[in-house]
């Protein structure tokens, strides 16, 4: 690889190439997979083409989009609940010393509680219901969101709030235009790691106590040792989550950061 002489062109060339490199990297993985599968010729490692064909079939009979949709709806619900509740808790704890001292240990406890324990307890206490499932996922995520937003709330600049107060900007406008923009970087950090965690836990919740969704389907095919369909679901779901990252998170984050020089 030759390095162009002037630095700015070099960096833009690298950025331009990174998408191509990414595609090449994924393609390489698929090739290795395909070659290995062909060589082993085992039911336990289906080839990439076999998985693709299974995916097409499952799309045709509607089962893949349906279960994907159901799981995605649970992911969105749990994600929204976790973000709203976690943000509120984080801001309150970041602003009030008393409440911070009072609840900090609770937060640490929740952070260290295994996801599985929360899920099992939720099902035991509240039954195998949709609310218990979504609630359990949210509770798993809430402490991490709260800790991140607490940092943000602690870093709020008092000078901006004073400015808003002296000009009588009003509570709602101050919250929306003065306070929240300072929290956006923390919100995005929490949302990013939140989505990654939430969708993984949703699958476990479905596996343990739901009768539909991607997690339930994977459990079904696990019992049948149908690795092809397990991989088909996995790849479809990973693709959807990556799409959310590209189509929603990244544009929002760029918009929120457009003032940065």
């Amino acid at each position: 690889m030759s390095v162009p002489s002037d630095a700015p062109r070099a960096s833009s060339w690298l950025v331009g190439a990174s998408l191509a490199q990414r595609i090449a990297s994924v393609a390489l993985l698929i090739v290795i997979w395909q070659v290995t599968a062909d060589a082993l010729h085992s039911r336990l490692l289906p080839s990439a083409t076999a998985v693709l064909i299974a995916m097409v079939h499952m799309c045709a009979d509607g089962s893949l989009p349906l279960n994907l949709g159901i799981t995605l709806a649970r992911v969105v619900a749990a994600f929204v609940v976790a973000m709203v509740v976690g943000t509120a808790i984080g801001i309150v704890m970041g602003r009030s010393r008393t409440l911070d001292v009072l609840f900090d240990s609770w937060l640490v406890l929740l952070l260290n509680l295994p996801a599985l324990v929360i899920i099992v307890l939720a099902y035991v206490w509240f039954g195998l219901t949709e609310a218990a499932a979504i609630g359990a996922v949210a509770v798993n995520k809430i402490p991490a969101v709260a800790v991140t937003l607490r940092e943000g709330a602690r870093a709020l600049d008092r000078n901006y709030a004073d400015m808003a107060q002296s000009f009588r900007v009003g509570r709602w406008r101050t919250l929306r235009h003065v306070i929240m923009p300072q929290l956006y970087p923390y919100l995005f950090a929490a949302a990013r790691s939140g989505l990654a965690l939430v969708w993984k836990i949703v699958l476990i919740v479905e596996l343990l106590g739901m009768s539909n969704g991607v997690g339930f389907e994977i459990q079904l095919y696990f019992q049948q040792f149908d690795v092809t369909r397990i991989l088909a679901y996995t790849i479809a779901f990973v693709a959807v989550i990556q799409l959310i990252e590209w189509a929603i998170f990244q544009p929002l984050e760029r918009r929120a950061a457009r003032w940065r020089p």
Partner: protein
């Protein structure tokens, strides 16, 4: 002038700070009394760290933990007085454009033409869509001034509006302020530690002691609004003030003067 309801009446018996846990409180202001007539431009002059900013924050309503009272004359329509505040640092929200920063302090429906006028007046018509990190210090200062004028303040507070600017920028900003005050008359209280600056802009200087701050003297600069003192007149006035208030240079214990020094012709005051 005594018969007119003052635009600002402040009687601070005491303002103390708890600087840190366990430490004995620091008394920032003690028996500080100040009345400002409507339309008057008053400069608060005192040594650095004497509590000038603390006083402005109290007047602006940002600090209510003090012993005493602050009263602002209500507007003609009975609404509470509007206070425009130009902070020492511009305090522009970096994620909002110049236009949006000014718009924030206004009700949404009446923002557009007013802001356009103001930005033109402060020479920033072309900068309306820039973000604060793209502005120079002087430009940011002008946006902060435009924002304070946007609310059509009954009282304009300014905290060291010219600090850390180069000489030319200070000159421009001073001209700009006089022009804005002429077009949009308002009562002004500004804080500075620079006597020349105070003499160049104010109708009256209020001299503060070192902390705990109280008023040690009033200096009328009575040449009338349309006749600002020239450079040499400012130097003369400055020497006169310094002769009477040595503590302003040395930080020596204040000697309360019996009479405010009459250092300029009192006749011109009538022109206003």
């Amino acid at each position: 002038m005594a018969s007119v309801t003052p635009a600002l009446l402040a009687e601070i018996r005491e303002k103390r700070y708890q600087r840190s846990r366990g430490a004995s409180p620091h008394v920032a202001l003690a028996n500080l009394s100040l009345h400002i007539a409507p339309g008057e431009i008053v400069a608060l002059v005192g040594p650095s760290g004497c509590g000038k900013t603390t006083f402005l924050n109290i007047v602006a309503g940002l600090d209510s933990e003090f012993d005493g009272q602050v009263r602002l004359a209500p507007r003609a329509d009975g609404d509470p007085a509007r206070v425009g505040y130009v902070f020492q640092e511009p305090r522009l929200l970096p994620w909002r454009t110049v236009y949006e920063n000014v718009a924030l302090v206004l009700p949404p429906h009446r923002a557009d033409p007013l802001i356009a006028d103001l930005l033109k007046a402060v020479g920033l018509a072309d900068a309306r869509d820039l973000y604060p990190p793209q502005l120079s210090v002087g430009m940011s200062r002008r946006v902060a001034i435009a924002r304070a004028f946007a609310i059509e303040p009954d009282l304009l507070l300014m905290d060291e509006p010219f600090v850390s600017l180069d000489h030319d920028t200070v000159e421009q900003l001073r001209e700009l302020l006089l022009k804005l005050w002429h077009a949009r008359p308002t009562t002004v209280l500004f804080v500075t530690h620079d006597l020349r600056e105070a003499l160049a802009l104010a109708d009256r200087l209020v001299l503060l002691s070192a902390s705990p701050a109280h008023v040690v003297g009033h200096v009328p600069v009575s040449l009338g609004r349309n006749h600002r003192p020239s450079g040499s007149e400012i130097e003369l006035l400055r020497d006169e003030v310094l002769r009477q208030h040595r503590e302003l240079i040395g930080g020596a214990p204040p000697m309360t003067p019996l009479e405010p020094p009459a250092i300029a012709s009192p006749t011109a005051r009538g022109q206003r």
